[in-house]
């Protein structure tokens, strides 16, 4: 019960030996010169000044043949078609919802792109339009897929599959979008007893594994049954693990999250919030990931 107080300590550098890499990454800060060779095409995150190619964001330099671009570490979500996102409804407009997905513009979820309850396929009528707020209100969380990208860069989402839809009870963790690894699937039922959705936009949703797969189409029904204590402990531990991994800039995918969870079992859940415990857990996770790759 005693409050944990400590003196401020400087951040420590991660030991370079643990990071597995073939050649050293070319990391740049804004204003750094990438190259003086004029034969390259410049991509995102670069600009030219006096025949030199300079970086405008802080990140890693990527080179594809003649194209040079800089991929920043901390950025807004740049959506591609097919990305899985977790978003929050900010506005209910005529025939569409505005969804906040940590990108530069609010994404759009059209009424025609959602599943109606009952799984019926029919034209959306004016009654559906008036009942929009019954389906999704301001503040609700949804999981969706990016259908297309508008000309101004806004994303158009859809929930036309049974696995997408309104999210029920659980915990949302916000991390940087560049830390979520692109994989074949972003919905995982972890062995430790909880389920997780790793949104490409950096929003990670942790929730108790549903007891049986619901037949409800569209997923607009959310239960308010209390979640059992054992599930809650798993969810809290996972949340702290994800925060620890993101604080130490480790890529998030199902294996890294699971390894981190297993390393954290040695400590109490509330101790995993302390910086030194976070560091220990992440070091162990990194080691196991390196062993697994090697």
């Amino acid at each position: 019960m005693a409050a944990d107080m400590r003196l401020a300590a400087a951040r420590k550098r991660a030991p370079g030996s643990l990071v597995s890499q073939d050649e050293s990454k070319h990391l740049v800060a804004p204003g750094d010169v990438i190259t003086t060779d004029t034969g390259f095409m410049r991509g995102h995150g670069t600009y030219t000044e006096d025949e030199k190619l300079m970086a405008s964001v802080a990140g890693e330099v990527e080179r594809v043949n003649k194209l040079i671009c800089v991929r920043p570490l901390k950025t807004r979500f740049n959506g591609e078609v097919g990305d899985v996102v977790v978003g929050r409804i900010t506005e209910v407009q005529q025939k569409r919802w505005k969804v906040e997905t940590n990108s530069r513009l609010d994404s759009v979820l059209l009424l025609s792109s959602v599943n109606l309850p009952g799984g019926e396929l029919r034209r959306r009528s004016s009654e559906d339009e008036l009942a929009m707020r019954d389906y999704l209100q301001e503040g609700d969380l949804i999981s969706a897929e990016v259908q297309s990208v508008f000309a101004d860069g806004a994303l158009s989402l859809h929930t036309c599959s049974l696995k997408y839809g309104k999210l029920g009870q659980g915990v949302l963790v916000q991390v940087s979008p560049s830390l979520v690894k692109r994989r074949k699937t972003h919905f995982h039922n972890l062995l430790c007893g909880a389920s997780i959705i790793l949104g490409n936009n950096g929003y990670v949703w942790i929730y108790p594994t549903p007891a049986q797969q619901d037949e409800e189409a569209g997923g607009f029904f959310t239960s308010t049954e209390p979640v059992p204590l054992c599930d809650r402990e798993v969810i809290s531990r996972l949340q702290n693990c994800i925060l620890a991994l993101s604080a130490h800039k480790v890529l998030l995918y199902d294996t890294s999250v699971l390894y981190c969870y297993e390393s954290s079992l040695a400590h109490q859940i509330k101790d995993t919030l302390k910086p030194e415990v976070m560091e220990e857990i992440v070091m162990e996770t990194r080691q196991r990931l390196v062993e697994q790759e090697g």
Binding site: A9, E138, I235, R237, K270
Partner: protein, 291 residues
């Protein structure tokens, strides 16, 4: 304060968790997040402190200036509070947006310290009715992650502990004119006794239970909170209710009891940390803002 939007299901999850004494990050209802404290971060103040509680970041600077004592208290110095909500914390604080919250916090601080025993203001008197030390306590909100009052009160206590007021002497001439003489040694200073400075504990009522050190998400689920300012000995200097909801008398009594217990437990580790930091002396590596 910056409010975070949440869905109904998330709020239900948080409320059920609080009933079971297991909050979202694994803490119990009486646990604080870990706090980082550093004093003497601003060089041109008499004393300063920076406190980080989770993501909440508070910077307090104390400046001692000479002024006239108040007419109704001629033998005492004064304590003035000013709270600045910087736009760094949220875009809502841009321009004059943070003024309301700032004045609310400053008024609460005046109430908390407005008693004879928190700070002995008589030690700040130089010459009764003519000169006294006025301590201007400036609080800067750098980042907002819930539980502002607790972090601010801990930072103020640390900054007051760190405050060094130069020793002055009143010298009277043969003609009767009084002069103030400052001692030649710049390190010859007077320190304040912060034994009885209270710490504020915020208790948020969520469902049927109350929690200490609520995050922004937990704050969004609670309708009413109680602020209790507690000294090391367990004396309560101020009780204030914030929020739009109502509290019935039994829960108020329970919350005050919890506040007293948790508040008393805050002071001991804080004193230890401050003494440890001071004992490091010149060897201490200052972390500051770029650490």
């Amino acid at each position: 304060m910056a409010a975070v939007q949440m869905s109904e299901a998330e709020k239900v999850y948080i409320m059920h968790g609080v009933q079971d004494d297991l909050r979202v990050d694994g803490r119990g209802c009486d646990d604080y997040r870990h706090m980082e404290i550093e004093t003497d971060v601003v060089s041109n103040t008499s004393g300063s402190a920076r406190v980080k509680l989770g993501l909440t970041d508070i910077l307090v600077g104390v400046k001692a200036e000479m002024g006239r004592p108040k007419l109704e208290k001629p033998f005492e110095g004064c304590l003035e509070f000013f709270v600045d909500c910087s736009a760094n914390a949220t875009p809502e604080f841009e321009g004059r947006g943070g003024e309301d919250l700032g004045t609310e916090i400053a008024n609460t601080l005046y109430r908390v310290f407005d008693n004879g025993c928190s700070i002995d203001l008589k030690t700040l008197c130089i010459c009764p009715m003519e000169h006294c030390w006025t301590l201007y306590v400036d609080v800067l909100l750098l980042q907002c992650d819930g539980n502002l009052f607790d972090a601010i009160s801990v930072a103020i206590k640390a900054a007051l502990f760190n405050t060094r007021i130069p020793k002055v002497q009143m010298i009277e001439d043969e003609e009767g004119t009084k002069e103030i003489e400052l001692s030649d040694d710049p390190y010859d200073c007077m320190r304040l006794d912060v034994e009885n400075v209270p710490c504020i504990v915020t208790l948020c009522k969520i469902g049927h239970r109350h929690v200490v050190d609520a995050t922004l998400q937990e704050k969004a689920c609670s309708m009413a909170s109680l602020l209790v300012a507690v000294t090391k000995k367990g004396t309560i200097t101020c009780v204030r209710k914030v929020g739009g909801g109502s509290l019935d008398p039994e829960s108020v009594f329970e919350m005050i009891e919890t506040g007293k217990r948790v508040g008393k437990a805050l002071h001991t580790p804080l004193q230890e940390i401050l003494r440890k930091e001071e004992s490091l002396g010149k060897k201490r590596r200052k972390v500051g803002f770029l650490g």
